[in-house]
Amino acid sequence: MTRMRMNQAIVAAIADEMRTDPTVVMFGEDVAAAGGPFKTSVGLLEEFGPMRVRDTPISEMAFTGAGVGSAAMGLRPIVEIMFMEFLGVALDQLVTQAAKLHYLSRGALSVPLTVRASVGPGTGFACQHSQTLENWVTSTPGLVVVSPSGPQTAYGLLRSAIQHQDPVIVLEPRAYYGVRGEVHTGPDAMIPLGRAQIARPGTAATVVCLGRTTAVALQAADRLAEIGYDIEIIDLLTLVPWDVAAVAQSVRRTGRLVVVEDAPLTGGWGGDIVSRIVTEEFGALVAAPFRICTPDVPVPYGKDLEKRFAPQPDEVGRQIRSYLETGEVPAHWWTREGGMTA
């Protein structure tokens, strides 16, 4: 176990994979000489050389596609998309090419490509650099979508993603690159794709989180525990295909489902969780499930605004407490505080 920041855990995962598998390569904007804009590739160029670690031009379509082509030819490329928004100029290569090549080659090709993209609010980068945008990639059969919640899961998921035979996109909560934690490394620390983790066992409600919101909900849970509410927190980790069984099992125990997410009310990924669970576990639910999400507005810049925009421990605690006390779904903060709808 070593204490490291999430970006260091990412470097460690990549380095460990590069050491064991000579087909692992990495490229993206300023990932080589500069060690990555978020310092997620520090030292890799020095250790693995310019054939395997490369800087690219500002050409997301070309270099994401280069990931697709080189993966199809047997490499295991890791492509860094600095901000998820930049996939808006390259989505075709991931969704319409990478995710379909195995299918369209009748299995003759596979695309063991890992795309890493930073996502979400919390760093003051404003509305063109702060979206989560999971929905750009979630309804794409053939593409795995994962999202770590801190240093340990960043390490474990990334190693699994690199080893996986299908394309995987890793959505990294950028607000957490600098967050520190104890990290267990090595092959045992790999986290299987497709499996959620119970981040905190509990009985009062099932709270499903992803990425940045797991730690938020954990903080809320501590305070709720003090007043006697013992919630279960599921860190989804894999968003596609997500672990329906784990969530369903938990809901069968708790009878209540809450999703905490950085995505907006309309179209956010939480809708998929609530919908599927309610269809499959209707009888087990003792109260309405609901989502604690972001309002339907572009991510605002101002410090206080951005903080208010995304779920924070206080608000999550308040919502869940009210839910458990009343059995009713609480109002969103922007409704409660009055007249703030766009």
Binding site: G69, V89, R106, A108, L109
Partner: protein
């Protein structure tokens, strides 16, 4: 090491030995025969479309056979090719059989893509053909990436992207050439300038006629050649292939061809300037090559007539055989979605 082929599931329709068919192209008569074969297949596909046997759309390459066959004849079996929805000619040239191509277009369970791909998605890695790309320009980054893999492993292979004149107006073209240049990758970009993108003549969409000049923006060596003349194609592409294979970096070749067919399906080409089609028909690569073979004394008219008859017969047989094959059943759509299925990909209730 990662295998780049994970197939367990061989399609019988490709069994005729794509590599032998490729090797045959060393012979000029065989090259002529392959052009005839492509023409015959395209005519059958056109007919099958008209009779309603073919679902969806189909993009023929009549007039562009010399480029496809010329290209196939100068690359090696382990080179790879990224082509487009207008891909039957390239597929056949590379070595896929008429039965293979037609069975996929007919959506047969034993088609090379199991009937889930169709006309726009020919693929057979046995002959180096990646699934053809139906998004304009999408093949260029992928070819660039394939070349990068060859460079990393110091393999003696090259990647080829072949795409249309219209594809030179899309961002992926620009980005791929730039990346290939700065990384000095063994990739050959072939632009099949057939004068049209859909229903638009090149001049409606593109401010310059000779597209090979666009390579200058990236310091990439480039050349234009006559895509209707298979010998010119072989000479030009042959040189380019050598250049690229010798680690000089990428190269771009513009081949001037002409699309005798409409863009797709029932397009009759009402937008063509008067006389243009007729003008180009005089340069039909099939008839031009025949004339050349005869004038060079490489074959007799009778021999070539017999060859044509034989090929037309084979293609007709392939059509009949493909029609007798089983259409893909619903289970086919669930095959090969994932190379490594996760337990959570459960398909629901």
């Amino acid at each position: 090491m990662t295998p780049n082929r994970t197939s367990d599931d061989q399609h019988p329709s490709g069994a005729a030995g794509g590599n032998q068919r490729r090797a045959a192209l060393r012979d000029p008569i065989a090259r002529y025969g392959r052009m005839l074969e492509i023409r015959a297949v395209e005519e059958e596909v056109f007919r099958l479309f008209a009779t309603g046997d073919i679902h969806g759309s189909t993009h023929l390459a009549e007039g562009q056979e010399a480029l496809a066959v010329g290209l196939a004849s100068v690359i090696r079996p382990d080179d790879v090719v990224c082509a487009t929805y207008r891909g039957h000619a390239v597929a056949l040239a590379l070595g896929m059989t008429p039965l293979s191509v037609i069975s996929e277009i007919l959506g047969r369970a034993d088609g090379p893509v199991g009937g889930v791909g169709g006309s726009m998605h020919m693929s057979d890695m046995e002959v180096g053909l990646l699934p053809t790309f139906a998004i304009v320009g999408a093949g260029l980054p992928v070819a660039t990436g394939a070349a990068y893999a060859f460079q990393v492993r110091a393999e003696d292979r090259i990647a080829v992207s072949i795409s249309g004149d219209g594809s030179t107006n899309i961002g992926a073209f620009h980005e791929s050439l730039n990346l290939a240049a700065i990384w000095k990758l063994p990739v050959l970009f072939v632009i099949d300038h057939n004068m049209y993108g859909e229903y638009s003549r090149w001049n409606v969409t593109t401010p310059l006629e000779d597209l090979y000049h666009r390579a200058d923006s990236y310091g990439i060596r480039s050349m234009m050649l006559d895509g209707m003349d298979i010998d010119a194609v072989r000479r030009g592409l042959g040189e380019a292939v050598d250049y690229v294979r010798s680690n000089n970096g990428p190269m771009l070749i513009e081949a001037k061809t002409y699309r005798f067919s409409g863009h797709s399906r029932a397009d009759t080409g009402p937008y063509r300037p008067e006389g243009e089609l007729e003008h180009w028909r005089e340069r039909d690569p099939v008839t031009v090559t025949r004339r050349l073979l005869l004038s060079q004394g490489l074959a007799t008219p009778t021999a070539l007539d017999q060859l044509e008859e034989q090929i037309r017969g084979e293609v007709a047989d392939a059509v009949s055989e493909a029609q007798r094959m089983q259409p893909a059943g619903p289970a086919a759509m669930f095959a090969h979605v994932w190379a490594e299925p996760l337990y959570s990909a459960d398909g629901g209730r």
